[in-house]
Symmetry: C2
Subunit: 205 residues, 2 copies
Amino acid sequence: MAKQGYHHGNLREALVLGCLRLIEDKGPTGFSLSEAAREAGVTPAAVYRHFEGREDLIAEAALQGYEIFADLMEHAYDAGKPSPLAAFEATGRAYLAFASRFPGHYVAMFESGISIQRTPDLHRAATRALGVMEKAATELAQQIPPEKRPPPQMFSAHIWAMSHGVVELFARGSPGTKSPFPPEDLLETGIGIYLRGLGLIAPDR
Amino acid sequence: MAKQGYHHGNLREALVLGCLRLIEDKGPTGFSLSEAAREAGVTPAAVYRHFEGREDLIAEAALQGYEIFADLMEHAYDAGKPSPLAAFEATGRAYLAFASRFPGHYVAMFESGISIQRTPDLHRAATRALGVMEKAATELAQQIPPEKRPPPQMFSAHIWAMSHGVVELFARGSPGTKSPFPPEDLLETGIGIYLRGLGLIAPDR
DNA sequence: TGTACATCAGTGAACGCGCGTTCACTGATGTAC
DNA sequence: TGTACATCAGTGAACGCGCGTTCACTGATGTAC
């Protein structure tokens, strides 16, 4: 991402990209504004033409992440729509797909400590994304007899927790945790067993 | 943790405690050796009498964590022993209990980037702890007919992932993620549903 | 079409800061006789 | 019991470093006439 002359042309986006790359393999606190500037071939001071500071840059990365994430989730949900079960499973897969295709965004969103209340934009994007998960769970819950139906937020939380756990422990290069199985399989089977436990899949395989 | 005279008396442990407190609410990379020293009422240079450096201090915190963790897991396992199911469930609960009672250790172990290969001691302690989870899973797997029995490491991984996810997303003050349920309940019900899915609990509640 | 000028997007030097680490040192403690 | 001395566990000053941020500046671009 070398600039040609005095003006960069698209510095703002270049900085976000650099931020994502750095955050991805150094963690959110290992990331430095100066290094992002260096990568873009620009003085640290130039960053302040486009962002209020370090935090603001990370927040922008997180925002873009939530937007992509929400789009993916909505798309997955729609694709499985006629069947609540298919829709639900699709969002689960979309979660993992997002985490592995956009690791920098993932970290910016869930590990950087950026509050989703930071700006209205950020809050809106995050709500939209997480809303899809809850909607899928709510619809699926309709298929369980009311008297033994767990609150939809609860099993949306279960699925989220398992997905996040798989990502953190087995998808990223966690310390010494060599994954015995591909993370996709792990999540797929885990969710399968869970749904069977809810009586939503035939008890036999 | 004020020292009385020129000699502190128990600086090594005081530093580990400070490290744990700091790591707990600033994250592993937000932690600084100088600050830990300051908390112990001591010059940064004094740290080098007891540790090789910053990394070494964190590694010690992680080591102590793994020892406590392994003890807890073994104890929980033994308490439920006659029944593989009870033993398995107990280790799940022990995991969450550990994370909430020893958050600093938890972070040092699972989020600090310290490799468990760092020293033989560390590796041994970690292996012991994680071994209990696998042992519990293996025994439980015996109760499933062989032809539809998933590999024990797989469902030990599932449970670990869900536990870790619950801890990260709902037990710690994650950004804007207000937990709709107490994490203990979330994990308890989640594991319950999962085990029902494996046919290890009666299908009805 | 050319020129004057406003605006924009960078520079580069400087700042104060806290960090991890090193070093020669010194005060306190423990031990041998 | 007293003294000499070795060992231990701290000090404090210094180092070089990279950081985030500020500031007056300047080069490039766009626009009005």
